[in-house]
Symmetry: C2
Subunit: 218 residues, 2 copies
DNA sequence: TTATACCACGAACGCTTGTTCTGTGTCAAG
DNA sequence: CTTGACACAGAACAAGCGTTCGTGGTATAA
């Protein structure tokens, strides 16, 4: 990568500014930080970063920069995020809350996650785990599970199923066998559970699990 | 909350726009979307949202909006994010890679996470888990662990320790007892491991665990 | 010595974007 | 009927911001 030191500093400033301020910097803000007094020089260097595939620009739009850095974990662009409603809790003894149509961000808590973690898609919602019943899914009390609303599952999907007879929610990988359903714990040292298909109600598919071990400021 | 329908639509548009474009909308972009032809009316409604504590504004700054919505999981503001270097892998048979001073985002892969998940702080880095050896920490092969670089631990901290005699990395809660160290698995059904303090090298503290069950676009 | 590429810079301009001013309409309360 | 609050609207202006132009310096290769 043939970047000058100045270009590297510009790139680092952009990503840091974005993270702190929630908006991209202007050409003049970049210049002020890296000691370039001419907007033309900043413009020239930004065009180099575009050529190198590190940023994108939109013409004649204020703050029309966007980081797409080749070293980002994905190419989706870390500055974007999705908002996922946090609907409540998931616990063994209850069916999970599933979202109604057309939830707006004002109707309750929302979790913002970068698109590095999860792309935007329909039907996402989040639940907080209550109790130790998901341990066999390697999921702990207090973890957050992000799910996609769907009532069918492909073999191998990690799903939340409601077992009607047992009156219990469980998170396991689901496989259809000849006349029964195998619910396979994520923990490879544990044995599967077999259920009659009529007893199994798929409520959503798990797409992301998050465990925070640090208390956030209230 | 006394918002009109129009104000709610403005607020939803701002958060959605931010998530998609990676920058806040302008007053004219908001007006175009919610059908307000006058910048003065958009301005008036934005001031209501400020009064209600849903957004912040900076004067005479382009795109100087910021969502701080009372329904966000935290008040930090979901539009901001931190960038954490993804240094490599963590596996049982090797000490973990720890960051050198002053890593720049250009020097390798970076994970962007919203500050809803983790506040910005010094010494953060991420590792990808290799193998099933962290199962007792309820951590699976392929999970991402975000750690904070520190060589000391308080009782109860979830830490990565290198056991010198065993030549093994493990993730457990650490407690100092009279003459030994107790390493307690996160899985409450498992027994602790006791170690001589001289055998234990704390390499970092786990602050966040992420499990992606969905493949991201390459 | 000349040509080319890269890097740098100030200035000016055009457009984008936010703020302010003046005016109008509706509704509820007194 | 009057007053005040709220919501709306167009226009103008001020400030912010990106683009372009003309110019200059350095290094390298021919």
């Amino acid at each position: 990568m043939g970047l000058s030191e100045r270009q590297q500093r510009i790139y680092e400033f952009i990503t840091k500014f974005m993270g702190e301020k929630g908006r991209p910097p202007t050409i003049r803000e970049i210049g002020a930080k890296v000691g370039i007094t001419s907007t033309s020089v900043v413009n020239y260097n930004l065009n180099i970063l575009v050529r190198e595939g590190l940023i994108q620009r939109e013409k004649e739009v204020s703050r029309g920069l966007r980081v797409i850095g080749a070293n980002a974990k994905s190419m989706v662009g870390g500055a974007s995020f999705v908002q996922i409603p946090l609907l409540g809790k998931i616990a063994a003894g209850h069916p999970i809350p599933v979202p109604d149509a057309g939830l707006a961000p004002l109707d309750g808590e929302v979790l913002s996650l970068t698109r590095d973690l999860i792309p935007d898609q329909e039907g996402l919602f989040a639940l907080e785990v209550k109790g130790n019943s998901m341990i066999d899914a390697l999921i702990n009390d207090g973890d957050i599970v992000v799910m996609k609303k769907q009532e069918t599952a492909q073999n191998g999907d990690m799903v939340a199923v409601w077992l009607k007879d047992e009156k219990e929610t469980t998170l396991k990988r689901l496989y259809r066998e000849r006349s029964r359903i195998r619910l396979q714990p994520m923990n490879p040292t544990m044995k599967p559970f077999y259920a009659d298909p009529r007893n199994v109600e798929v409520q959503g598919k798990v797409v992301l699990v998050i465990r925070q071990l640090q208390k956030l400021p209230a």
